[in-house]
Symmetry: C2
Subunit: 204 residues, 2 copies
DNA sequence: ATAATAGTTGACTATTTAGTTCACTATGTT
DNA sequence: AACATAGTGAACTAAATAGTCAACTATTAT
């Protein structure tokens, strides 16, 4: 009973966009409220603080992204193809953002994590949790590729960490330089790290 | 003639530390002044704004770092050893920061660039300039390694970009997770990307 | 219909922040 | 010695910001 509202969702959407296009530190509660079309009283009805909202928004955004990743990293797909699809998907997203905002925005979790990890421990934990999920997707693909004899990777977790570092680093470079072209051959770098043979690259 | 002062230097040192241990957005001019032991009047005597100070501090810090890199990337050193030394140096720096601040701080330019690139174009340009320098150090090492038949890298610029993305990504991961161990085998990942053979890894 | 309750509003306070001003002080130069 | 000037400091303003509150409104369950 009582009134119903989508203000909470609107606030999470607003902060997500502001964090991605700008930064955590430069985003104010007033700005979030204005973008969401919500008054400050309502903001504090739903959330305790900016960091509280950010944690919830991060979580919600990741839930949605995860369904996409479940599809991409489906065990039904050839392991190296999963990685290729992931790179293609990522490139497409960045291209869309560039169209929409005139800027390459990179990875929202990574940029946020780097910014606030020394200041906001709850946010840092949430980001770490999400990055860990990403690593696991990659890890199982690497493990399957190793098991299938496509690559030599006796330590899939280590390889996945390497791939993730490269992938996130590249996205961040693209954000800093505002250039999607940097992401064109993401998969090439990953396959080089995995020691995928040229022939397999062509076939897969 | 007139009075002399090191307040300008103290301000640059203060902002460098605050940016690295925290973030651009969370660092206020009052905070910078307090840490530097400088009154606001003096701040505005030397600088126009926080971003102005940040640009100058970034530049000054890079000048110092560059002399170190000139030594590490000396053409007198074997090309793959340059890269190895660079990774060792970087690891050492991060370890020192962890000792000093209790936190792994990653790469100051990269974190700052990711944070402010959509908001502060002068800072974004300065960061890009610095990252470009880093890439050039790597590029010449890769080119020399290729010329020496140690690796196969017909496009050294592309390989250098890949290495830099991985390197910066790894540093950022280490910052987010506050864990230096992530950086232990940085060189291993780079050599994998370069396709350095195991034997050469052991020898070099 | 109405009572209970989920959500809204705008006006409010207190604090932090960026940036200014101007009289003052210390120091190198002549 | 004294002058020109680089740098200092403290008090100031104006704006932005986080956070509060109590009266109000819409909805739903009974």
């Amino acid at each position: 009973m009582g009134r119903v509202s989508d203000a909470k969702t609107r606030l999470m959407d607003a902060v997500s966009e502001l964090l991605w296009t700008g930064s955590y530190g430069s985003t104010t509660i007033d700005q979030i409220c204005e973008k969401a079309g919500v008054k400050k009283g309502s903001f504090y009805y739903f959330f305790d603080s900016k960091s509280d909202l950010a944690v919830e928004a991060l979580d919600a955004g990741w839930q949605i992204r995860q369904t996409e990743l479940d599809r991409i990293f489906s065990p039904m797909v050839l392991p190296l193809d999963r990685i290729r699809k992931y790179c293609e998907f990522s490139y497409k997203v960045q291209l869309e953002m560039k169209e929409k905002y005139g800027r390459v925005l990179g990875c929202p979790q990574f940029a946020l994590g780097a910014e606030v990890c020394t200041l906001e421990s709850r946010l840092q934990k949430k980001v770490q949790e999400i990055l860990d999920c990403k690593r696991k997707y990659l890890e199982s693909a690497v493990r399957d590729a190793h098991a299938g004899g496509l690559i030599k990777a006796p330590d899939p977790a280590a390889k996945a960490r390497m791939i993730l570092a490269y992938y996130e680093g590249l996205l961040t470079q693209a954000r800093i330089q505002n250039d999607v072209e940097i992401l064109r051959d993401t998969v090439g770098g990953i396959f080089a790290m995995l020691g995928v043979k040229e022939t397999e690259t062509a076939i897969a």
